[in-house]
């Protein structure tokens, strides 16, 4: 059964995250704080806030998801678990996909749940909450999956964190455009289906292929 190792890894990573709850909370707080800084810098004019809300929430989600990427493989690399995973019988692509999924459950899913509250602060029409949450639900897993490539490439390098952002952020651009675009379309009274379907398509394609690149990168990094 090919999914058995995936299940084990997801359960293990969730358990590890549960034991160190503060790590999860920090990324979430970062998201809230970044989103709260924009009105302070730009001004609290409601119309302005309403129009920048989708973009601000999406950029904050991007940064918050990226900040926690470092932890994706670093711990396993430090204590030698990663080497066992590389040597183990389970296909590395599956292992990597499971780890990215666990990362999303810990860092992406909370953002989906908390985003409507940020939207409330920005005076976004309540009819848009569903689209916003749905776009994040489809988009944030892509961030974890693509980010895993960057995390694997920068594993154990000096200045890994800053380098990681340089590698990963340009690759996040399509997700940002489609995610924020979906909410903007909905707020203009148009159908956001096109953007949402494209996000779903990106999720499927990256979910299928990016773990292979991550697996190759992990093998390079731990030679």
């Amino acid at each position: 059964m090919i999914l058995a190792p995936a299940k084990t890894i997801v359960r293990r990573d969730l358990l590890l995250a549960l034991r160190r709850r503060s790590d999860v909370a920090t990324a979430l707080l970062f998201f809230v704080i970044v989103a709260s800084l924009f009105p302070l810098g730009i001004g609290a004019e409601p119309n302005l806030l309403r129009s920048i809300a989708p973009g601000v929430i999406w950029v904050a989600a991007l940064l918050s998801s990226m900040l926690s990427l470092n932890r994706l493989f670093a711990g396993d690399h430090a204590d030698g678990t990663l080497e066992q995973m590389l040597l183990g019988a389970a296909p590395l692509g599956i292992v990597v996909a499971a780890k990215a999924f666990a990362h999303w459950l810990v860092s992406g899913l909370p953002l989906v749940l908390i985003a409507p509250i940020i939207a409330l602060q920005y005076d976004v029409a309540s009819a848009l909450y569903g689209v916003l949450a749905l776009s994040l639900l489809l988009g944030t897993p892509i961030l974890s999956i693509i980010g895993a490539i960057g995390a694997a490439l920068t594993l154990g390098l000096r200045g890994g964190g800053v380098l990681l952002s340089l590698l990963v952020l340009p690759l996040y651009v399509p997700v940002l455009i489609m995610g924020a675009g979906a909410v903007e379309m909905a707020s203009a009274g148009l159908s956001p289906d096109g953007q949402l379907l494209l996000l779903a398509a990106m999720l499927v394609v990256t979910g299928a292929f990016a773990p292979l690149a991550t697996a190759a990168a992990l093998r390079i990094s731990s030679e």
Partner: protein, 235 residues
């Protein structure tokens, strides 16, 4: 008659490639200078003044070829990176690493000349238009590739890690391009197309093609010269 085997991999060794790279680089450097002089002459003295944009349009003789090269060199870089990744040839990694700075340079030149053209024409240095934005993101991709290579001391690991990044990047470039395109477009449509008749004066096209060839030769010369440095440093 016996079939002669072709030694495809004869020049894959840095040692045998070194003198060949020197020869090709010298020829290309001379050609780049000659083509550059010819292209600039045609561009500045022969090509007619544009009816709408006046003299300021002449920046396209640098801008358009630079933009072509910036995108093309990324693909070439990813190609060599992929070859090196698949076949474990050291020279391919050196090629990819040598092409990256030239590609980044042309991306920067394209952005810079674009904004010089944008000021008199659009009245602004920068517009968040689809092509400008995707060119900017391409520049970030080049920087990411170079930063990753620079931060790994082990050359073998640097080449292989860079290869993964370049391949992921080259898959992403069209996706980025189309998403940015959909996001916003204000730029004029492509002025040169292979499928329909060119809408510009013939001399303008000749000047642009001469400059494009000049940039090709320059890229080859500089990249090969950088490969020679790489070989002497790490060969």
């Amino acid at each position: 008659m016996t079939a002669r085997t072709i030694h495809w991999f004869w020049y894959a060794s840095p040692q045998t490639f070194f003198p060949l790279a020197g020869k090709i680089a010298r020829v290309c450097a001379v050609l780049a200078v000659l083509l550059g002089i010819a292209g600039l002459y045609v561009g500045f003295f022969v090509a007619p003044t544009d009816a709408q944009q006046g003299e300021s349009y002449r920046i396209i003789f640098i801008h358009v070829p630079a933009a072509w090269m910036s995108m093309f060199l990324y693909v070439v870089m990813a190609f060599w990176a992929a070859i090196g990744f698949a076949m474990h040839t050291r020279l391919s990694g050196m090629m990819a690493r040598s092409l990256a700075p030239t590609g980044a340079l042309f991306t920067f030149i394209a952005l810079w000349t674009g904004s010089l053209w944008g000021k008199p024409t659009w009245g602004t240095w920068w517009v968040w238009d689809a092509r400008l934005t995707s060119e900017l993101i391409l520049l970030f991709l080049y920087f990411g590739f170079m930063a990753l290579q620079a931060s790994i001391d082990d050359r073998r690991r640097a080449d292989r890690a860079g290869a993964v990044l370049a391949i992921v990047g080259v898959v992403n470039v069209p996706i980025i391009y189309y998403s940015v395109n959909w996001w916003n477009t204000l730029h004029q449509g492509a002025s040169v197309s292979l499928t329909r008749a060119p809408t510009m004066a013939k001399t303008m096209l000749v000047g642009m093609l001469l400059m494009a060839l000049c940039f090709w030769m320059y890229s080859i010369a500089v990249a090969l010269w950088r490969v020679r440095c790489e070989i002497t440093e790490n060969g």
